[in-house]
Amino acid sequence: MTSTVSRPAAGAQKQPLPLDVEAIRADFPILSRTVRDGRRLVYLDSGATSQKPRSVLDAERDFYENHNAAPHRGAHQLAEEATGLYEAARATIAGFIGAAVEEVVFTRNTTDAVNTVAYALSNAATAKEPSFRRYAVGQGDEIVVTEMEHHANLVPWQQLCERTGATLRWLGLTDDGRLDLSDLSTVVNERTKLVAVTQQSNILGTINPLEPIVARAREVGALVLVDGAQSVPHQPVDVTALGADFLVFSGHKMLGPTGVGVLWGRYEVLDALPPFLTGGSMIEVVRMEGSTFMPPPQRFEAGVPMTAQVVGLGAAVEYLQALGMANVQAHEEALTAYALEQLQAIPGVTVIGPPDTVARGGAVSFTVEGIHPHDVGQVLDDLGIAVRVGHHCAWPVVRRYGVPATTRATFYVHTGYDDVDALVEGVRAAQRFFGVTPEEATA
């Protein structure tokens, strides 16, 4: 045996899945195509971007075919309909996360949402209006992130610190893939202006305990931004229960179109922030000498928005609501338990991240001894299995665990045990192909 932490396979535990995989697959046109010489598409890369059900595609098409106009402009019938659909989608999405409608800002994606907040905090320092200066970040202030963050929730904060002279600090990781909160009370202190933390790691799968972090931030008067890119698509998330100030997520990772994401902010906080992007739609009065801005959410939605995509995201949310987010979470947890058990039973395979399903979502990263993740991914691709390989836009995480990269499988509503079985067999095939099969399969 190798030195991996693999545990014996306890007879292939397959809990009944809460979701009807075959019925769901029929809703996703792309899943009926084949790849690489006629193989069934085994799509295990939803963590990068999810596939789209027909209802989302239909909603976008219907918008363009029947209602297309710029919302919040013009008095004609199409403009009214477009505005109605755009705002109805906002209401649907707000309801999905337990938010008030005016607290939901549409952005391009999670990255855009994080930057909107980061630039608002530096713009606050130079804002003409005193009301916009409340959350200004400057010299002597501190921003706290974690070593687990996706680059999208790390680089904008590094840049904010470079612009303002603030200091970036971070919470580290434990060897088993969890946040190390032992120094929480010193890292988050009276100088901290904002704590940015992911709710679920895109690479380790870890679901973070946000309560102590939010509580500590409250003690010192810091804002909290939660990266929900990998949590909102996969588990019930309610902003009231979260207790944070911001929640950011992307539509394309939750069955919706690309080009639309969400910045949720507590209204009181949003209302005290200056805009990031400025231009049309977000203004109140414009004179040559200067301009005033709309209240949230319009203040943060400059330009004609991605209307069809917002409508598509609304349809995606309705699709997820019909399945039930608790069911989605339970479904992925069952698949994750099975995948962890099966993968860790393969000699030479090491899971990077929590080895069991305790506080863990459906992103399973692993290494295969003697084979670079790119090469693992190539063999899997040849078998029709789509996974992500590389550093997953979380370079500090792979560095922390001493590996150059990993292979990552991520699960979603259309994933079944057959997909996991294909993955496991594919990993064994890679070991055979590269001649690094430890014991057993050499027989």
Partner: protein, 155 residues
Amino acid sequence: MQLQSMYQEIILDHYRNPHGRGLRDPYEAEVHHVNPTCGDEVTLRVHLDGDTIADVSYEGMGCSISQASVSAMYDLVVGRPVTDALATGEHFMTLMQSKGDPAVAEELEDELEDAVAFAGVSKYPARIKCALMSWMALKDASARALAAAPTGGQA
């Protein structure tokens, strides 16, 4: 399986038993190149004797394609004038852009020796940069070494 078209036995041989691996002295230039999409890295040194590449030494980590490519490149360029080595690099670039066209591989076979085995990689756009990383590093290091050399012109 189409895998064999990319993972030619020659490539796997270079991967398992790389030629010229390790960082050596002396050298006139050292560069570090990374592939930001996947994290592959190579540190590469060039030692010149006049206008001739006397040694290329390297350390790196990455996939089989990137590691085999630097090994095959070592065989092709050591002992040759810099201009010839870089011309070979251009031919390798042509091969990588060939989208698997066998005519291109055939034409370049004599010039590229073992490196022609990478023809199959040109069918996989995501992997081409893996094969090219070491050649980009060589081009960079050679230019720096020439600039640094006493006979190499104005430093």
